[in-house]
C-alpha cells in the first residue's frame, strides 16, 4: 500500500466539483483508492463518500492506494489537492461552489 499526506488548500474545501475530479481519477485505478482524515476514510471513487468526510481547508488528508501501480493515481490526486483544484486558494469565489 502506498500513501501520502497533504493539506487541503482551496478555500471552499472538498465540495462537489473537487470530489468529482478526484473520483474520476480514482476510477481509473487498479484497486481501491482511499481518502481519509486519519480517523475515517472514504472510497475515493465515490463523490458522495468523499463529500461525507467534510474535508475543510487546512485539514490534513491521507491518501492511500492499494496497488503499487496506482502511484500515478496517487500522484495526480495529490497534485490536484495541492493546487487547490484550480480554484481560488485565498478568496471565496462566487462560482467556486461547483
Amino acid at each position: 500500500m502506498l500513501m501520502c499526506r497533504i493539506k487541503m488548500q482551496n478555500q471552499l474545501g472538498m465540495h462537489a466539483r473537487p470530489a468529482a475530479m478526484i473520483s474520476k481519477i480514482a476510477r481509473t485505478a487498479h484497486r481501491e483508492v482511499w481518502i481519509g482524515d486519519g480517523n475515517n476514510r472514504a472510497d475515493a471513487s465515490s463523490v458522495i463518500d468523499i463529500l461525507s468526510m467534510g474535508l475543510t481547508r487546512g485539514k490534513e488528508v491521507l491518501l492511500e492506494v492499494e496497488h503499487k501501480d496506482d502511484i500515478k493515481v496517487l500522484e495526480s490526486i495529490r497534485e490536484l489537492i495541492e493546487k487547490g483544484f484550480g480554484e481560488d486558494i485565498d478568496r471565496k469565489g462566487i462560482r467556486g461552489g461547483h
Binding site: 471552499l12 468529482a20 458522495i48 462560482r95 461552489g97 461547483h98
Partner: protein, 596 residues
C-alpha cells in the same frame, strides 16, 4: 372511490385575484416524490426492477444534461457542473448501493433509492463545516431527479403546458409565474400563500382568477378534474354539478361585463370632486405587462421589480442584457416615467446552485441593498444599465430595503462610480435621474428625515413595512389575518414619513398592495399621498373611487382616525363614511355582480 369522484367539493381559500374561471385542473406537482410505496419484488422480477432503476437514472441524467446545456454561461464552469452531477448519478454510494438493496432486500427501486438517500443524509450529519454539509443537497437533488422518473412524476415545466387549464400547485415561484403563458392558463389555485404573499402579488399582476392558501388543493384535486375558481370569494369547486356550473357561467359573464365597464371609464383622469388630480401608476415585473399597464391607463410605472430577469436566467445578466430590457420599458412608457428598483433579493439565489449559506430568515437576511453593497460588481452593472436606459425615457432609480443612512451614502458613492465608468467608456447615459429610497423597514421610517436629505423621492413599500412592523410573515396562513394595512401603527408610520417628506421636500409614492385596495384610498389620500402605484388591474377601480372622493373630507377623517387605537374602529369609520363609494368587499362582490 369512483362515487366521490363526481361529488361536488367546495374548498375555501384566500382570494388571490378576482374573477371566475371554469376549466380542467392541471396539477403542478413537485412533491409527488414524497410518498414512496414499498413493495416486494419476486426473484424473477429483480432484473426488471434493476433495469427500471437504470432506465430512470439514464432519463434523469439526460434531462439533467439538457437543463445544464440551457445555461449559456462560460463553458468551463458549465462542464464542471455537468461532470460533477453526472458523476453523482452513477456514484457508488447512490447508484451502486441502490442496486445492491434491490437485489438483496428484493424491494422496489423507489424504496431502495429512498433508503440509500437517507443513509447518505445521515453520513453528512457528522460533517461540521456548514458549506460542505449543505453539499448533501446536491446529492438529494440528484436522487430526487431519479425518483421523479421512477414514480413517473416528471418535473412539470409550466411553459410546456399546451392546453387551456387551471393550474393547481403547492405554491408558484416567481420563476414559475414568469413561465406562465397567459393564453394557456385560465386561472390558478395554490395550497400556500396569502393575499399579500408573493404568489398573491403575482396572481393580481397576471389578472387571472386565482385562489390561494387552500392548504390541500393539490391532494383534493386530480388532473383533469373540472374546477370552478372563484377568485372573488376565494372558493374553488371541484367537479361541480350542472346547476353549479350553470350558475357560475352566468356569474362569470356578469363579472366580465362589470370589468369591461370599468375599463371603458379608466381612461379618464383620476380627479377628485374638489378638483385635485392624483397619479395612478403600475407595479410591474415583466416587460410583457406594459400592455396591461397601457390598457389600464396608468400614469407610468411606479415600481419595476427587477428580480425576475435574474431568477429566470439563473445566472447574473450582463450590463448589455439589462440595458436592453430597461431601455425597452423606458421607451414603451415614454412620456410617462418608469421607476426601476434595484435587485431586491439575495442575488446568490439566482445561481442554479446557490453558493451562499442557507439563511434561517431570508427576509431578515442578506438581501436587496445589503446584498448589492456586498457584491458591488453586480450592483454597479445594474446601475450602469439603468443610467444608460435613462437616456431613452423618463427613468427613476429606486433602492430597496434601506435600513440606515450609511447604506444610502454608500449607494450614492457607487452611483458616482458607475457614472465615472460610463463616462470613461463613452457610453450614452443620463446621470440626472431622480434617486429614491424604499421606505419599508421601520428604521427607515424613523430616519426618514435624514434619508430625505439624500434622495429625491420616497417610495413606501407597505407590504414589507407592514410585515416588518407587525412582525407578520405574509406567507404564513396562521398569522396572515394579522397583516393589517389599517393598523394604527402602520398609519402613524405613514404619517411620520409624510411629515419627514414635507420637511425635506421629497415626493412620496406608495407602492405596496395597500394602494390597490379601495378601502385604503380615502385614508392614504387623507394622509397626504398624491401618487399611488399598484398592480395595473386595480387602477380602474381605484380611479373610480378617487373620482368620488373629496380630498378635504379625507383629511378630516384621517385626523379622526389617527386618534383611534384599533383596526376595527378605523375600518368602521372608513366603511361607514364611504359606504356608497367603496366597491363592495370581495366576499360580497358576488352579490354586487348578481345585482348588476
Amino acid at each position: 372511490m369512483a362515487e366521490s369522484e363526481f361529488r361536488e367539493i367546495r374548498l375555501q381559500g384566500i382570494s388571490g385575484s378576482p374573477g371566475i374561471c371554469i376549466g380542467k385542473a392541471y396539477i403542478v406537482d413537485r412533491e409527488g416524490v414524497d410518498i414512496i410505496k414499498r413493495y416486494s419484488i419476486s426473484e424473477n422480477h429483480v432484473k426488471h426492477e434493476i433495469n427500471r432503476f437504470k432506465g430512470a437514472v439514464k432519463k434523469a441524467k439526460d434531462a439533467h444534461s439538457k437543463i445544464i446545456e440551457a445555461f449559456n454561461d462560460d463553458l468551463s464552469s458549465q462542464l464542471n457542473i455537468l461532470e460533477t452531477h453526472l458523476a453523482l448519478f452513477k456514484d457508488k454510494m447512490l447508484y451502486g448501493r441502490t442496486l445492491e438493496i434491490i437485489e438483496k432486500d428484493r424491494v422496489n427501486a423507489e424504496w431502495a433509492l429512498r433508503k440509500v438517500s437517507r443513509q447518505v443524509k445521515a453520513m453528512f450529519k457528522k460533517v461540521v463545516d456548514p458549506y460542505l454539509q449543505s453539499r448533501v443537497s446536491d446529492i438529494i437533488q440528484v436522487s430526487e431527479q431519479v425518483m421523479r422518473f421512477l414514480v413517473g412524476a416528471e418535473d412539470v415545466r409550466i411553459s410546456d403546458i399546451n392546453k387551456r387549464v387551471i393550474l393547481v400547485a403547492d405554491d408558484l415561484s416567481p420563476a414559475d409565474a414568469s413561465q406562465i403563458q397567459l393564453e394557456r392558463i385560465k386561472g390558478f389555485v395554490t395550497d400556500r400563500g396569502g393575499r399579500d404573499s408573493h404568489t398573491g402579488i403575482i396572481a393580481k399582476s397576471l389578472h387571472i382568477p386565482s385562489v390561494l392558501g387552500i392548504g390541500n388543493a393539490t391532494t383534493c384535486v386530480n388532473n383533469d378534474d373540472i374546477l370552478i375558481v372563484d377568485g372573488s370569494t376565494g372558493i374553488i369547486i371541484i367537479n361541480p354539478d350542472e346547476d353549479t356550473l350553470f350558475k357560475y357561467e352566468e356569474r362569470k359573464l356578469r363579472y366580465e361585463e362589470y370589468k369591461a365597464l370599468l375599463a371603458r371609464e379608466s381612461h379618464r383622469p383620476a380627479v377628485t370632486r374638489d378638483g385635485r388630480q392624483f397619479a395612478l401608476m403600475a407595479n410591474i415585473e415583466l416587460v410583457e405587462e406594459i400592455v396591461s399597464v397601457k390598457d389600464n391607463a396608468a400614469d407610468g410605472v411606479g415600481l419595476f421589480r427587477t428580480e425576475f430577469f435574474y431568477l429566470n436566467l439563473k445566472r447574473f445578466p450582463s450590463e448589455e442584457e439589462l440595458f436592453e430590457r430597461y431601455k425597452e420599458v423606458a421607451e414603451l412608457m415614454t412620456p410617462n416615467c418608469v421607476t426601476i428598483r434595484t435587485l431586491d433579493i439575495n442575488g446568490d439565489k439566482v445561481l442554479p446552485y446557490s453558493v451562499s449559506a442557507e439563511e434561517a430568515n431570508p427576509a431578515l437576511g442578506l438581501r436587496a441593498v445589503r446584498f448589492c453593497l456586498k457584491r458591488t460588481d453586480l450592483f454597479i452593472t445594474q446601475i450602469k444599465a439603468i443610467l444608460r436606459a435613462a437616456a431613452f425615457g423618463r427613468v427613476k432609480l429606486l433602492i430597496p430595503m434601506v435600513s440606515c443612512l450609511e447604506e444610502m451614502l454608500e449607494v450614492k458613492k457607487i452611483i458616482s462610480k458607475a457614472v465615472l465608468e460610463l463616462e470613461e467608456e463613452e457610453k450614452i447615459f443620463n446621470k440626472n435621474i431622480p434617486l429614491g429610497v424604499m421606505i419599508e423597514v421601520p428604521s427607515a421610517v424613523i430616519m426618514a428625515e435624514e434619508l430625505g436629505k439624500e434622495v429625491d423621492f420616497f417610495s413606501i413599500g407597505t407590504n414589507d413595512l407592514i410585515q416588518y412592523s407587525l412582525a407578520i410573515d405574509r406567507r404564513n396562513r396562521q398569522v396572515a389575518h394579522l397583516y393589517q394595512p389599517l393598523n394604527p401603527a402602520v398609519l402613524r408610520m405613514i404619517k411620520s414619513v409624510m411629515t419627514a417628506a414635507e420637511k425635506t421636500g421629497v415626493h412620496v409614492v406608495i407602492c405596496g398592495e395597500m394602494a390597490g385596495d379601495p378601502v385604503n384610498i380615502p385614508v392614504l389620500m387623507g394622509l397626504g399621498l398624491k401618487e399611488f402605484s399598484m398592480n395595473s388591474g386595480a387602477i380602474p377601480v381605484i380611479k373610480q373611487v378617487i373620482r368620488q372622493l373629496d380630498s378635504r373630507e379625507t383629511r378630516s377623517m384621517v385626523e379622526k382616525i389617527l386618534t383611534k387605537h384599533s383596526v376595527a374602529e378605523i375600518t368602521e369609520i372608513v366603511e361607514e363614511k364611504y359606504r356608497d363609494i367603496l366597491p363592495v368587499k370581495e366576499n360580497e362582490e358576488n352579490h354586487k355582480i348578481a345585482e348588476l
